[in-house]
Symmetry: C2
Subunit: 110 residues, 2 copies
Amino acid sequence: MFEKTTRMNFLIDIYESLLTEKQKSYVSLYYLEDLSLGEIAEEFEVSRQAVYDNIKRTEAVLENYETKLGVLQKYQEREQLIEQIEQHLTQHKQLDDGVAALLQQLKNMD
Amino acid sequence: MFEKTTRMNFLIDIYESLLTEKQKSYVSLYYLEDLSLGEIAEEFEVSRQAVYDNIKRTEAVLENYETKLGVLQKYQEREQLIEQIEQHLTQHKQLDDGVAALLQQLKNMD
């Protein structure tokens, strides 16, 4: 469950601008704000089942964008490479403050 | 015109999986294959104006995705940072083959 939540947090963060307002609000409250299905249902005065169905559909929409664009996949591959660069430079005592700062900027960009 | 073509090449490359088949075919033939509007019109047996209108609309669709997701923008910013890292390491004589290869992998990833 933790992994699913983390993945959804990433996917929402990346693709939320492509979601409708309703899709964005339900899925954000559930995954980012950690509200329960019941709490969201109460707030929007709809059934718990309606919230659940909407969130499942939005998850599929987000996964579909990721299948097509792969922004998260590439982000994770880049993170690994940056990690390898840091390790390599550290091992060879070449990681000075200047490069460390630039690599940090590169990480923060995503 | 060159800059526009380059930009469209990037945007098509990034977002083509979000286009319809028709959008993708016209815009790809025009920008990637360098066919003229007249040649595309002839191939699809439609008017030159229809091809032109479709391509203009697809350009707007691509720019809209870029406004929302900014994949090209982030790519360009990362390229600059990687360039700076290479320059910094070169200046400090810290750019060995290992790091150079990793940085190249990072560039090729996008």
